[in-house]
Symmetry: C2
Subunit: 162 residues, 2 copies
């Protein structure tokens, strides 16, 4: 449905204005779908992302810093997220031998099993592919990548701007 109808009420001052609101709104919609799919497994989207990163490293451990770098939602609270996953038995943590400041975090077999059960949201992705073609997805990806190039302080370095 058109965004104007879904949020009722407004006309947008420009297509870009609508695009900004559309990104915010579509994000909320997508997060709802994904969270709903995770609920039976009793983990949150943030915890799922941590597990995904850890699986990418497996069987090597990751440090908290590496998790922070790779997380989608910027730098957040990787320490406490890891702790909650540890309590659930999905990850294990140990102090590094070589640098006692570092924590080695590794996904457990049980954590790997949970990821397998979830199966990367294949059904949700498939449902979305019914509505939007590969070509359209590709184009949106290109445009969103361009959009972000206006420069986010802290992500973009001066040298990248030419």
């Amino acid at each position: 449905m058109r965004l104007e109808n879904e949020i009722q009420q407004r006309k947008f001052s420009s297509e870009m204005h609508k695009l900004a609101v559309n990104i915010l709104y579509t994000h909320g919609w997508l997060v709802s779908l994904l969270s709903e799919a995770l609920k039976p497994h009793d983990i949150t989207l943030a915890q799922f992302n941590i597990l995904r990163i850890l699986r990418g490293q497996y069987p090597n451990p990751a440090t908290i810093s590496l998790l922070k770098e790779r997380m989608l939602d910027k730098m957040s609270d990787a320490s406490r997220l890891v702790e909650r996953l540890r309590v659930k038995g999905l990850v294990e943590r140990a102090v590094s031998d070589h640098d006692r400041r570092k924590a080695n975090v590794r996904i457990t077999p049980q954590g790997l099993r949970v990821l397998e059960e979830i199966g990367d949201f294949d059904e949700i992705i498939a449902a979305m592919e019914h509505r939007v073609s590969k070509q359209d997805s590709e184009q949106v990806n290109i445009i969103l990548d361009s959009l972000r190039d206006i420069g986010l302080p802290g992500v973009q370095s001066v040298s990248e701007r030419t």
Copy 2:
């Protein structure tokens, strides 16, 4: 920059998979920009959205229910958001005469002044328009609107699905 480089590490299993991640990532990027712009005015994005809705009603009041309906982030905690704005003097609240269950919430002149100062993020929108054409924005809007039509429980009614 391409998403793969920004989040380092992965290849996506499909364009749609990348699109989903791209929406999550671009949302985070956009929220950072907007929050940064709001910081000098000492309000959060959620509070800003409430003020926008109230300005749309002005000089009529809105109820908490109406705010919940119009909020971008689904139904959340409109009561407590309004309370924080009230403490700041940006909104006022009164019990409805006709239905004492309802709260009449109205933006104050000071609240209107804050919105004027912020000016609808015009600079941010303009910066984004340097990177993405009106045509491209329009197309992304159409595609995102289609994407959401796969059906979000609670938003979509059976009668809308034909």
